[in-house]
Symmetry: C2
Subunit: 211 residues, 2 copies
DNA sequence: TAGATTGTTAATCGATTAACAATC
DNA sequence: TAGATTGTTAATCGATTAACAATC
C-alpha cells in the first residue's frame, strides 16, 4: 500500500465542502439527483470542474441521469470526515469567539466545538452557547482528553502568533485563524487564515473597479 | 486616456492589503525600510512575488536599501483607497453582525461601517458598537444619503440570497458575504464570500493529511 | 434513435517562481 | 570593490476549461 493517496488540492477540498452542504439541502427538499452543471453554479465554476472534483472522490455519475445525491454525500463525507466525531477547540472568547460558537452550533454531525479557552479569569467555567470556557492552562489536558487536533483562533492580533505557537507546541495539527496576522510554522501544521480585513478592503476596491 | 488601467488581480489586491497592514505596524515600531524578502514572509510568498506586486502599484524600491515604508504605504493606499472615506453598511445584526461591528471598529481611516440594518423591530434605533441599527426599509435612503457602495452581509443562510438581491437592486456594488450560501449575480457586482464552514472543514481535513 | 451527460485527456489560462542584468 | 537587492522577462507550475468518445 504505497502511501500515494492522490493529494486532493485545497481548492477541491473547499468545493467538496460547498457541494456537500448544497447537496444536503437538495436532499431535504426531496430531490435525489443532480447534474454537474447544476452543482457548478453554486461554486461559480464549470461543469467540467465539478466532474473533475467528483472524480477525485470516486466518481459515480450516470450519463443522462446525473449523480445520485445521497451517494454523492456519502462519498464526499468519506473524504472529508474522520470516522469519529472531530473535537474542535476555540481559543479566545471575545465578541468574535462568541459569535463563532453560535455560528458553529448544532446541525453538524461530524465535528463540534467542544471547549473554549481564554485568558480572562472572569470567563472561566462560564457556559457560552453550551460550551464551557476554560483557562489556557487547561488546554494541554483537554487536548489529550478530547483528542483535539484542530483549533479556531479568535484572539486579538497582538497575541495571535504567541497563541498559535502555543497550540502547535501542544500538538494541534490545524488552525483556523481569524486574527489579522500571518502565522508562520515550520512544522507540518496546517494554517488557514480568514482575513476579514483584507477581504473587506478587497470588496471596497472592486466596488469601484467593477464597471 | 484609454481605459486600460492594467487590471490588478484579486490575489494581488489581497496581498497589498496585508502588506499595508504590516507596513503600518513596522512604521509604528520606528522601522523605515523593508526588503522584499521580509514582506514575502508575511504572505507565505517569495520575494519575487512581492516585487511584482509592488511593481503594479508603481514600484519605487532601491537596490541594497530596499523599499521606503512610508512611501510604500502611500502608494498602496493610492491603489486601495478611494479619495473620500468609504461608508459601509452591515446587513444583519445577529451574533456575527455584532462581532463584525466590534471587529471593524476604529483604527481604520479610510472606511467605516456607518449603519447597520436588521429585520427585527426590537433592534431599530439601538446603538451597537457606536452604530445605529435601522430597519431594512431605510436602506435605500441611507445608501443615497451616505453614498454607500459596499455592504457586509451577515444574515442567516436562508435569507442570504434574498437580501443580496435586494442590495444589488438598491445599487450596492460589492458585497462581503458571511452567509454559507453562494450568491449569484449576473450584474457587475463584486461578491466575496467568506465561507467559515468550508474553511473549518478544510482545516479539519488537513489536520489529518499533513504528515 | 437522438440528445444530453459523464469520465477523462489534452489544451489553455493565469499565477508563481526563477533568473539575471542593472543598480546601489 | 564585493555583495546584496531591485525591476523585469522568461520559464514553470498548477488549476481550469475545452473537447470528445463512451454511455444512458
Amino acid at each position: 500500500m504505497t502511501r500515494k493517496e492522490n493529494r486532493i488540492s485545497e481548492k477541491t477540498i473547499e468545493r467538496l465542502s460547498v457541494y456537500r452542504r448544497y447537496l444536503k439541502d437538495l436532499n431535504k427538499k426531496g430531490k435525489d439527483r443532480v447534474y454537474s452543471h447544476e452543482l457548478s453554479q453554486i461554486v461559480s465554476g464549470t461543469a467540467a470542474q465539478v466532474r473533475r472534483d467528483l472524480m477525485e472522490v470516486g466518481c459515480n455519475g450516470c450519463s443522462s441521469k446525473g449523480y445520485e445525491i445521497s451517494l454523492l454525500i456519502k462519498e464526499i463525507s468519506k473524504v472529508l470526515d474522520c470516522s469519529k466525531k472531530e473535537n474542535i477547540a476555540l481559543i479566545g472568547v471575545g465578541n468574535l469567539g462568541r459569535a463563532l460558537l453560535g455560528y458553529f452550533s448544532g446541525a453538524r454531525d461530524n465535528y463540534d466545538i467542544v471547549a473554549a479557552f481564554d485568558n480572562d479569569p472572569a470567563k472561566y467555567n462560564r457556559i457560552i452557547c453550551g460550551r464551557r470556557c476554560y483557562s489556557m492552562e487547561q488546554l494541554p489536558n483537554m487536548i489529550d482528553e478530547l483528542k483535539i487536533s484542530t483549533a479556531i483562533l479568535a484572539v486579538p492580533a497582538e497575541s495571535a502568533e504567541k497563541e498559535a505557537q502555543n497550540l502547535i507546541d501542544k500538538g494541534i495539527k490545524a488552525i483556523l485563524n481569524f486574527a489579522p496576522r500571518h502565522i508562520t510554522t515550520g512544522s507540518g501544521v496546517f494554517i488557514e487564515t480568514l482575513d476579514m480585513t483584507s477581504a473587506l478592503e478587497k470588496a471596497i476596491y472592486f466596488s469601484r473597479k467593477n464597471t
